[in-house]
């Protein structure tokens, strides 16, 4: 009887034990977060760098900055220090960008005769042409025309107006 007693208590305790054991928490499978389906990647070509357009932009900006009108003293066609500085910058740019060509337009103020002023305007444009040629710019890239006193920038009969008319202007082709 002791064995039965023993088995019974054994069974009983197993039952009791199993009956009292904590049930393991139900394993919850983690639900994956709801993600939109990633669209398949579109085949895009990587953008090429447009060297030519960038260069054009860069040089055009320099042209606007460097080709400034050059002014002269009365009855002179020699360059002032300012004029020389502008010419140096122009020469440098033209040596860098060999596809720039320029028309040099010479002018004079209204004092003196029309014929002399035609020649004076031309002389001023030629002196700039000579400076650039000696700087190393090919003469074929530099054309010259004079308007004498015929196309004033400013109409007026005083020194302030005259000073603005004694000039060489640049028309660039690029």
């Amino acid at each position: 009887m002791k064995i039965i007693h023993w088995v019974l208590s054994g069974i009983l305790s197993t039952l009791l034990l199993s009956g009292c054991a904590k049930k393991p928490a139900p394993v919850v499978e983690p639900v994956p977060p709801k993600v939109e389906a990633t669209p398949p990647p579109i085949k895009v070509e990587a953008p090429k760098v447009d060297e030519a357009a960038l260069r054009r932009q860069r040089i055009q900006a320099k042209i606007s900055e460097i080709f400034k009108t050059i002014y002269f003293t009365y009855d002179q066609s020699s360059l002032t220090d300012d004029g020389k500085a502008t010419c140096e910058a122009i020469g440098q740019l033209m040596k860098e960008a060999l596809d720039i060509t320029v028309r040099l337009e010479g002018h004079a103020d209204e004092r003196g005769t029309n014929e002399y002023n035609l020649a004076l305007g031309e002389h001023r444009a030629q002196s700039i042409q000579a400076y650039l040629v000696s700087y190393g710019v090919a003469v074929a890239r530099l054309s010259v025309i004079s308007y004498g006193e015929e196309k004033p920038a400013v109409e007026g009969q005083d020194e302030a107006s005259w000073a603005k008319n004694r000039r060489v202007e640049f028309t660039t082709t690029f």
């Binding site: 004092r111 005769t113 014929e115 002399y116 020649a119």
Partner: protein
Amino acid sequence: MNSFITGNNLRKTLGRGNPRVAPTQGALLGAVFFLMPAFATDVVITSEQKGAESIALGYVEFPCVSGNPKAVAYHPGAVLTDDLNFSGRFKVKGVPKLDSLAKAGFKDSGALAYLQGEYSLEGDKYSLYCELLDIETGEKIIKKKYSGPKDQLRQASHQFADEMVSQLFGEKGIAQTRFVYVNKRPGGKEILVMDYDGANVHEVSRNKSINLCPIFLGSKDKALYTSYAVGVPQFFQADMLSNKITQAYASKRGMSSSPSYNKTDKEIAYASTMDGNSEIYRRPVDGGKASRLTFADGIDTSPSWSPNGYEIVFMSDRSGKPMLYIMDRDGSNLRRLTYDLDYCGSPAWSPKGDRIAFAAMDEGNNLNIHTITPDGKSLSKLTTGSGSNESPTWSPDGRHIAFMSTRTGSPEIFVIANDGRDPRRISHTGGNSMPSWSNY
């Protein structure tokens, strides 16, 4: 018919030391006209403008005897008397009709002769009759009749004025001469032509660019000018009868400007920058080989031929400031002409050969018209004032100079006698410059 005037063969000559008509013109001219014996005797009157006496004339207003006088915008008698006064040879006193009061007035003014006439404007035709009569005797000294298309009436008045100069002075009159000149407009400058009194303005160039330096080529109907129409300034020729314009020749490089015409040899002298700075060249007017005449550093421009084609006066800044120089037609024998002024330019040699007109600054910045003898010894200043006076050009008889002046504000063309007297304004539209006076 051997009238007193034509029989006496009045003749004008230039020069110093020739006997002059006494100042009391009434008395002595009376003798000249009417008291000379009937056999031909040459009477010589100096034709220098300076101090020359003018002949007093009367004028009775010409009536329009048929047709509507308003069919033309002028009165032919007024055109005639303006021509006579302009010439400096006559002083005309006008009256509305010939009565004893008018006749007395004529005599008071010293007139020994008077003008009478009439005109008609029937349909599209005109007729004009003019006569010059002796006040005392009523004898007709000169008489002429003209007719033609209505638009030629003004020219008929000019023709009679020239007829009077021819018969009374034995010289050609300038009443039928013309100017070519530059007119400023938006966007440029065009070449125009007009009668010497400012009427009948017509376009010569029509290219909407800048056109400069026009000259006549020997006749009143052909002109040469410099134009930017094809880019760098080149010469163009205009035939004003056929309305054709052609490029004179193509210069391979440089600009061509400032032409002067030598009608004896049919060549032009001009300025060109084809060899660098502005130099003077000579070439046949229709093209052909150019001869270079100047070789100095600096600017050489504005050549003007002597009337015999042997020499050229021009402007050069080789001394440091713009002055006038003369050289032979081949560039040799070069000598300086002006010294005492600050700036001398745009020289024009008189058709008489005895003086050169030019524009110069003596003090200040404005230019005035001067004349100088070719030996440089006698200088005269003809204009004064604060405006700019430039681009002188001579009448073909050397008695007048036309030029541009800004004295009224905008540039206009004026005329003065060759001694500076009697200034007259010719143009009125503004922006007019660079006149050139035609031949007869």
